[in-house]
C-alpha cells in the first residue's frame, strides 16, 4: 500500500480555508471503509489529498424537527440501525443500515461515506430515494440542497464537486404505513447487495397511495420503479395486484451480469423481492 499523508480537519472553516488555498484531488476520509480500500488497491491516482473529517462533531448528530429529520453525514450505520425514532419513521432505512457489512463495519462506516462513494449497490441509498431525502452540500463558496435522485450520475459518479462536503441528509418527517428493505447477497452477512429493494407506502381507505419503490444494484445508479408505483396507486393489496406488480417491475429493471450475479437472476429477483415486500405489507396491514 502506498504511503500517503492525511490532513486532519478541525472544523468546516478549516476545510474551507484549505479549499480556498487549493488542493489536488481531495478525498474525504469519514469511516474510511471505502476510501482505504481504494488507496490500497491503487485505484486513486496520485497526487491526492486525504482530508480526515471524522473529527467534525457537528456532522455526527440526528435532529428531529417539525418538517424534517436531519441526519449528519458522519452518523454511522450502527447509530442509525439502533435508533428507535428513526425505526418508527423510516423502517426501510434502519433495515438497510442493519444489513450493512458486519458490526465492525457498521460502527465505523458513515451514511455520508455510503452516499459519497456512490455505489449502485450501497444499502442506505434506496431507502433515501423512497423517503425523498435531500443532501446538504456545502463548500467555501456556498451551499445547496440536492434531491438524492439528482445526485448520482453513474457508478462512483456524482454531481458533487471535489471540495464540496455532504453536511447532512434531510428527510421529510412524514409517517408512512409501511416501509421495508430487502436485499440479497452472496452470503447471509458481510456481503455487498447483488440486488436490493426499498419500499415505503401509505394506504387510504384500504387502497395504496404513494408507494415508492427503489432498486439497488440493477443499474448504474439506484433506480426508482416508477411504473410499478403508478400501477399500484389506488389499488388494493390483493394477490393478483401483487403478482402483476411483480411482472411490471421485472420489465423496469435493466441489470447486468457481473461477478456477483447474472442479469437474468437479478431481473427475476426484482419481482421476487417486490412480491415479498407487498405480501409482508398485506400481512401486517
Amino acid at each position: 500500500m502506498r504511503r500517503f499523508s492525511v490532513i486532519r480537519i478541525r472544523s468546516l472553516e478549516h476545510l474551507f480555508d484549505l479549499a480556498e488555498k487549493g488542493m489536488t484531488n481531495p478525498y474525504f476520509l469519514a469511516g474510511g471503509t471505502d476510501l482505504l480500500i481504494k488507496i490500497k488497491d491503487d485505484l486513486l491516482i496520485p497526487p491526492f489529498t486525504v482530508l480526515d473529517i471524522s473529527g467534525l462533531q457537528e456532522l455526527r448528530s440526528i435532529h428531529f424537527e417539525q418538517d424534517y429529520v436531519r441526519i449528519g453525514s458522519l452518523v454511522t450505520h450502527g447509530e442509525i440501525e439502533k435508533h428507535p425514532e428513526l425505526r418508527l419513521l423510516f423502517p426501510s432505512l434502519t433495515d438497510a443500515c442493519h444489513g450493512v457489512g458486519s458490526p465492525q463495519i457498521r460502527n465505523r462506516a458513515t451514511i455520508g461515506g455510503n452516499i459519497g462513494n456512490a455505489s449502485p449497490a450501497a444499502d442506505s441509498i434506496p431507502p433515501l430515494y423512497v423517503y425523498g431525502a435531500e443532501l446538504h452540500l456545502v463548500n467555501s463558496k456556498g451551499e445547496r440542497w440536492v434531491k438524492i435522485e439528482d445526485f448520482f450520475t453513474g457508478p462512483g459518479k456524482t454531481i458533487r464537486n471535489p471540495v464540496e462536503i455532504i453536511k447532512e441528509i434531510r428527510i421529510p418527517a412524514e409517517k408512512r404505513d409501511y416501509g421495508t428493505y430487502l436485499r440479497l447477497g452472496q452470503r447471509k452477512a458481510l456481503a455487498i447487495s447483488k440486488i436490493s429493494l426499498a419500499l415505503a407506502g401509505k394506504k387510504k381507505n384500504g387502497s395504496m397511495e404513494d408507494v415508492k419503490i427503489a432498486l439497488g444494484a440493477v443499474g448504474p445508479t439506484v433506480i426508482m420503479a416508477v411504473e410499478t408505483s403508478l400501477y399500484l396507486r389506488g389499488k388494493e393489496l390483493s394477490s393478483e395486484v401483487i403478482k402483476e406488480a411483480g411482472n411490471i417491475i421485472e420489465k423496469e429493471a435493466e441489470p447486468i451480469t457481473d461477478l456477483r450475479s447474472s442479469k437474468e437472476y437479478r431481473k427475476k429477483m426484482c419481482s421476487t423481492l417486490l412480491v415479498k415486500a407487498l405480501t409482508n405489507w398485506k400481512q401486517v396491514a
Binding site: S102, Q186, R187, L259, S262, Y265, K276
Partner: protein
C-alpha cells in the same frame, strides 16, 4: 490418570488469544530486506525479454533475481519436477512468478516491481478440462496435457452392468476452492555461517522446503535449516508451494548476504498458491432392485492447472476412493489429471476425494430415489464392514466403523421423522434432509510410500520437564496438544510438563510431510517408541530405588508405584533426579515406519492404505423457492476415527470441516475471465461462509479402535469436509426435487432450474 481421551486445553490457546504467537511477519532481523514478486500478467506466453534496468535504479532496491540468477536447478522438487522457481522462457498461468525484488523498504520493492518490464508473445491458451483433452489442444508441456493417469480394474464391469436392474449415468462438475487460511504464505531467509542458510516460515512440510531450498541454491541438505514459525492455517495449501516462496527468499538472501523477508498479500497468495482441483466426473452405476451395487464405471478428470505439483497423488487418492465405502465386485475407474493455463492445483483437505465423493454420493441418492429405497438404507445395504474388500482388493481387517456412523447420525438427527415432516412443506420455504457416507485412507499409503516414516526426539530435563521434537507441524489443527497428551500418557507424567519445541529440520530426521491426517499416527507412534526406550532406562533406576522388579511397576500421574501395592511408590521427579546422578541418558530418538502398503499400477489393485476412517453426514436445509437460496439448518456428522485423543479438538475439526463444506457446496467460486485471469482474488469477491452462514453442527464421535495407532487412534482432520457437500445437495433434492450436479449450488443456478420446473 490418563489424559488421552480428555479435552484438555490446547497448548497454544492462550498465546493465540493474547496475540503473543509470533508469525513469520512478526519476525525481524537487523539489516533485513523486503522481497516482492513480479508476477506474470500474461496467461500463456513466451517470454521475449525481461528488462530490469529501470527497476534496479529505484532507490533502496538491492537485488532483482530472474531465472538466470539461479545457481542450482530451476525446478521445485515436488512429485515430478515441472514447475520452475522462476519462469524461464514461458509463463503458463496468469500470476506465475517471473522475478523477485529485494529492497530496503516495502515501498521501494513495490515500486521496482512495477518497473520490471516483461515482453511476452502470447500463446493460445487452454482454460478448461474439456479444452485440455481435445485432440488438437495446444500442448502446455513437452509431455503433453496429461499430467498423470491412473486406473482401477476389478472384476468385469460389462457383466456387472448386465446383472443390474437399473443403471444410472451422470456427469458432475466441481469448482476450484481456495484454502482461505488466515495467514498468507510467508518466508524469512537468513544467511548462516559457512555458506549455510536458515529459513523461517509458514509451512506444513519443512522437509519439502528444505529440499526446495537446497535445489535452487545447489547446496547440500546439511547446509539448509528450516524452522517452522507459528502457522496460521494450512488445509493443504502450505504443502507444496511454500518450497517456491522459500526458494526465492533464500535465493535473494544467498545472493545479497542479508536476511530477506517475503510475505505475500492476499491477492498474491490467491494468484500463486495451489487450489483444490476443479473436476469433471462421468459416473455410471449399476444396481439390483434391492439396492446392491453390481458395477461402477467412472471417468474422473481433474484440472491440475499449469504445473503438476501434487496432482498425481491427489488424483491417486481420488481414484482409490472413487467408488465410495461400498462393496462392489466390478469396478473400472480411469482418472486423468490434465494441464490447463490456470493456477496449479495441489493439496486441499480431502485431497482429490471431495470431488468424486460428491459424484458417488449423488449417484447413491439417485439410485435410492429410483428404487424407492430410503437413502440411508441404501448406504447401509452396501456399506463395507470388517472382512469386506475395497475397490482395489484390499481386505479391511479391523476398525471399520461405517455402519455405526450411519446408525448414529440417522438416529441422532431423527432422520425418519424429518424425512416425512419435511415432505409436507409445499410453500415457498421447503425443507429437506439428505445423507452421505464416505471413507478416507489415513496417511500417504502406497501413493507416498517413500515418506511413510517419522521421527521424534524426546528429552527429559533434570527438573523432570519434557521436551519433544517432531518433524510434523502444528498449523492450527491441534497437533502439539494431541502429541503432548500422547507423551504424557506414554511417560506417566502430567500434560502440563510436556513442551513440543518449534519444528526445526535439524532436530529430527526427515519425517515426511504434515498432510493426509498422518501426524497423530506417525509422530504419535514415534514418540511412543522414544518413550518406551526412556522408560526402560528409568525402569532400571526405579527398580533399584524401590527394590521391586520393573515389570510390576506402574508409571502414572507423575509417580511410579508397585502394581500390587500402590502405596509403595516414588515420584517421577525423584527417579529423574536419581537418573541424572547416575548419568543415565534421558534423551532419545523414536522412529516409526508405517505398516505395509502397496499398489499395482497395471491393475489398480493393492493394499493402498494401512487403515481408513469413516463418516456419515446428515444435512438439513431450507430452500427458498422464490430466490433459490439454500440455508443449511443442521449437520449431524458421525465420524469413526479409531480413538479421539482429544474429543474437543475432534469436534472442532468436524465443525470447521462442515463450514468449509458449506462453502464448497453453496458459495465458494473462483472466477476467471476469458483471458484466463483470476478475477476474484480476495475475500471481498471470493466469498466464504461467515458465522451466520453456518448451521447447527452436531458432531458424533465413533471409536473403532485401530490396534496399530497410538491408543487406537487412526488420524483425523481431512474427513470432516469430505461428505458435507453431497449431504447438502442431497437434502436440496429432498426439499425441491431438483438434482444439482454442479457445485457450488448458487441461488442463480438453483433458481434457474426451479424456474424451469415450475
Amino acid at each position: 490418570m490418563s489424559v488421552v481421551g480428555k479435552s484438555v486445553e490446547r497448548k497454544d490457546a492462550l498465546d493465540k488469544v493474547l496475540g503473543l504467537a509470533q508469525y513469520v511477519d512478526d519476525m525481524h532481523f537487523d539489516n533485513m530486506l523486503i522481497a516482492k514478486g513480479v508476477y506474470s500478467k500474461e496467461t500463456y506466453g513466451k517470454i521475449i525479454s525481461i528488462d530490469i534496468s529501470k527497476a534496479e535504479r529505484v532507490k533502496g532496491v538491492v537485488k532483482i533475481v530472474t531465472s538466470k540468477d539461479i545457481p542450482g536447478e530451476n525446478l521445485v522438487p515436488i512429485v515430478r519436477k515441472d514447475m520452475p522457481f522462476l519462469a524461464e522462457d514461458v509463463v503458463r498461468y496468469y500470476g506465475e512468478p517471473v522475478a523477485y525484488v529485494a529492497a530496503e523498504t516495502i515501498e521501494a520493492a513495490e515500486e521496482a516491481v512495477k518497473l520490471v518490464h516483461i515482453q511476452y508473445k502470447p500463446l493460445e491458451t487452454v482454460l478448461s478440462i474439456e479444452e485440455s483433452i481435445k485432440e488438437k489442444a495446444p500442448k502446455i508441456h513437452p509431455h503433453g496435457n496429461i499430467h498423470k493417469s491412473y486406473k482401477i480394474r476389478k472384476g468385469d464391469v460389462a457383466r456387472g452392468f448386465s446383472e443390474a436392474d437399473i443403471i444410472i449415468e451422470n456427469e458432475y462438475r466441481t469448482p476450484h476452492q481456495e484454502h482461505s487460511y488466515l495467514e498468507t504464505n510467508g518466508m524469512l531467509a537468513v544467511p548462516a555461517y559457512e555458506g549455510g542458510i536458515t529459513v523461517y516460515g509458514s509451512m506444513q512440510c519443512p522437509f519439502y522446503v528444505q529440499e526446495g531450498v537446497a535445489n535452487i541454491l545447489n547446496i547440500p541438505l546439511n547446509k539448509v535449516r528450516i524452522v517452522q514459525t507459528v502457522t496460521g492455517g494450512g488445509f493443504g495449501g502450505k504443502e507444496d508451494i511454500p518450497s517456491l516462496y522459500a526458494g526465492n527468499a533464500a535465493l535473494l538472501a544467498y545472493l545479497t548476504g542479508r536476511p530477506v523477508k517475503l510475505v505475500l498479500t492476499r491477492e498474491e497468495d490467491f494468484f500463486t498458491s495451489s487450489k483444490r482441483h476443479p473436476s469433471l466426473i462421468k459416473y455410471k452405476t449399476g444396481a439390483r432392485k434391492d439396492g446392491t451395487l453390481t458395477a461402477i464405471e467412472v471417468t474422473y478428470y481433474l484440472d491440475g492447472g499449469a504445473y503438476s505439483t501434487l496432482s498425481p497423488i491427489v488424483m491417486w487418492r481420488g481414484l482409490i476412493h472413487a467408488t465410495g465405502p461400498y462393496r462392489c465386485e466390478n469396478v473400472r475407474v480411469d482418472s486423468h489429471v490434465v494441464a490447463t493455463n490456470r493456477v496449479h492445483c495441489g493439496a486441499f483437505r480431502g485431497f482429490g476425494q471431495p470431488q468424486v465423493i460428491f459424484a458417488h454420493e449423488s449417484q447413491m441418492d439417485i439410485l435410492a430415489d429410483k428404487l424407492q429405497i430410503d437413502p440411508a438404507e441404501i448406504r447401509r445395504i452396501n456399506a463395507v464392514n470388517v472382512g469386506d474388500e475395497t475397490s482395489t482388493g484390499q481386505k479391511l481387517e479391523t476398525s471399520v466403523g461405517l455402519l455405526e456412523t450411519i446408525e448414529k447420525s440417522v438416529d441422532k438427527s431423527e432422520w425418519q421423522q424429518k424425512r416425512s415432516i419435511y415432505e409436507q412443506d409445499k410453500g415457498d420455504k421447503r425443507r429437506g434432509i439428505g445423507v452421505s457416507s464416505c471413507f478416507y485412507g489415513v496417511s500417504l499409503g502406497a501413493g507416498g510410500r517413500k515418506y511413510e516414516r517419522s521421527g521424534a526426539y524426546v528429552e527429559i530435563n533434570r527438573d523432570s520437564s519434557v521436551n519433544v521434537a517432531v518433524g510434523t507441524t502444528e498449523m492450527g489443527q491441534g497437533m502439539r496438544t494431541v502429541l503432548s497428551q500422547i507423551t504424557a500418557d506414554a511417560l506417566g507424567v502430567k500434560y502440563e510438563d510436556i513442551y513440543i519445541v518449534p519444528v526445526d529440520s535439524t532436530r529430527v530426521p526427515d519425517s515426511g510431510p504434515t498432510v493426509a491426517s498422518r501426524a497423530t499416527v506417525m509422530s504419535g507412534n514415534a514418540i511412543r517408541d522414544a518413550c518406551r526406550q526412556l522408560k526402560e532406562r528409568l525402569g532400571k533406576v526405579a527398580e533399584e530405588m524401590l527394590k521391586i522388579p520393573r515389570e510390576v511397576l506402574v508409571w502414572d500421574n507423575d509417580e511410579v508405584y508397585f502394581k500390587q501395592n500402590p502405596s509403595v511408590k516414588l515420584t517421577f521427579k525423584s527417579v529423574i533426579e536419581e537418573a541424572y546422578k547416575r548419568d543415565v541418558h534421558l534423551a532419545t530418538q523414536g522412529w516409526f515406519v508405517a505398516p505395509y502398503t502397496t499398489f499395482d499400477e497395471e491393475t489398480g489393485q493393492g493394499w493402498c492404505y494401512f487403515t481408513y476412517v469413516y463418516s456419515t453426514n446428515v444435512a438439513e436445509v431450507e430452500v427458498d423457492m422464490t430466490t433459490g437460496i439454500v440455508t443449511v439448518l443442521k449437520v449431524t456428522a458421525a465420524h469413526d476415527l479409531g480413538k479421539a485423543i482429544n474429543p474437543a479438538l475432534v469436534e472442532g475439526q468436524i465443525q470447521g470441516g462442515v463450514v468449509q463444506g458449506i462453502g464448497y457446496a453453496l458459495i465458494e467460486n473462483l472466477l476467471y475471465d476469458k483471458s484466463g485471469k483470476m478475477i476474484n482474488p480476495n475475500f471481498s469477491t471470493y466469498i466464504i461462509p461467515t458465522s451466520v452462514d453456518t448451521a447447527v453442527i452436531d458432531p458424533i464421535i465413533v471409536e473403532h479402535i485401530y490396534p496399530d495407532g497410538p491408543y487406537g487412534a487412526k488420524g483425523f482432520g481431512e474427513l470432516p469436509i469430505i461428505g458435507v457437500a453431497p449431504a447438502i445437495v442431497n437434502a436440496v433434492f429432498h426439499a425441491t426435487g431438483v438434482r444439482m450436479k454442479e457445485l457450488p449450488v448458487t441461488p442463480e443456478r438453483l433458481f434457474s432450474v426451479i424456474g424451469e420446473k415450475k
